[in-house]
Symmetry: C2
Subunit: 205 residues, 2 copies
């Protein structure tokens, strides 16, 4: 019903490394009128990644220029690399009625909430820290030392949970995905999401 | 997971006469750990209604005594009859982790929100006023004069929509029911709904 149609919403998905946040974020694109925000980063492209799809891979100079122009919705430095969410395409998509998915870490998520309070922040939790460690170990890509570092980082990241709107326990992937999709659907049912002239139009109809 | 288990929530369902709010409210009992709040009323029992199931049918004296004792979460007079939601059983059920469904009109809903801000207010809308009128006419229980009065009341009731958390368009009943069930599920995923000691316990696990 067009009467209920309004601007899109920003959904921010964060979670510790190994929480499965990327899988969940990607699955959200199955929802109608939903697009991904593509971040800029100065980190090197990894195998399997595509420039302009996973990230815009840019030089430090290009990144710094965007910061100077106020062109980021959020930006942060993590593990010596810089990441940022370009503001313009995100706001344009919202105007078109599209949901915009941001998969970013916690510092960035809070910056988004500050600059755009209507953003919905979702924190993906592994069922337990023990299971998270097992998952990272099974991936077989990180040394024991790196895993220890990641686990310590994860414990610190939990401090950010209190600033998020929703938490999702990623135990069974399909359930976690469906729950986040439901958050997206239900956020649309909020009265504050209705167009300003809704009642006026509704009575006329 | 017990770690995520917390108090129950109050869900308030309101809507114009003929919006189908009762059908929706009743269907919510299919959700786990969900109970109905049974209101007290001074109005006469109708055919098919059961005392202690649909309402506690009480005298004016019993009702007034409960008001004097501060025993209502909300109470109001509608169409010359008095209605109230007993406070004690509702709060006891929340403590037990049960969701409590209240099917009440708008004045009462706002009283609940005031006395219990965590209550989630859901407004059931008919697809349009035209369809609402047709539905009431097809019911064949009301005179034209009564229907006109109800329609005028409905337009006034829309003023309360802005104070509600969610709206539901009751076009296809099954869809409306599923949407409200999703609201109930998703409200549980709010970070503010987690136990205060959650992170502490989560790290230990």
């Amino acid at each position: 019903m067009d009467l209920f149609k309004n601007e899109g919403k920003i959904f921010v998905i964060s979670g510790p490394s190994g929480s499965g946040k990327s899988t969940i974020a990607n699955a959200l694109l199955e929802e109608p009128d939903t697009v991904f925000s593509i971040s800029m980063t100065t980190r090197k492209i990894r195998e399997g990644e595509v420039d302009g799809v996973n990230y815009y891979f840019v030089t430090d100079e290009e990144y710094d220029r965007t910061v100077a122009e106020g062109g980021f919705l959020e930006h942060a430095e993590i593990y010596n690399h810089k990441y940022g969410t370009p503001k313009k395409p995100a706001l344009e998509n919202l105007k078109k009625g599209l949901n915009v998915i941001l998969e970013i870490e916690m510092q960035g998520a809070l910056q988004v909430k500050e600059s755009y309070p209507d953003a919905v922040l979702i924190f993906v939790l592994p069922p337990s820290l023990k299971i998270l460690r097992e998952r990272i170990e099974n991936r077989g890509t990180d040394s024991k030392e790196e895993i220890d570092k990641r686990m310590a980082a994860t414990v610190k990241e939990l401090d950010y949970l209190k600033d998020y709107d929703y938490y999702i326990v990623n135990d069974i992937k399909e359930v976690a995905v469906e729950t986040v999709k439901n958050i997206m659907r239900i956020e649309k049912q909020k009265v504050k999401n209705l167009p300003a002239n809704f009642i006026e139009e509704y009575i006329k109809e």
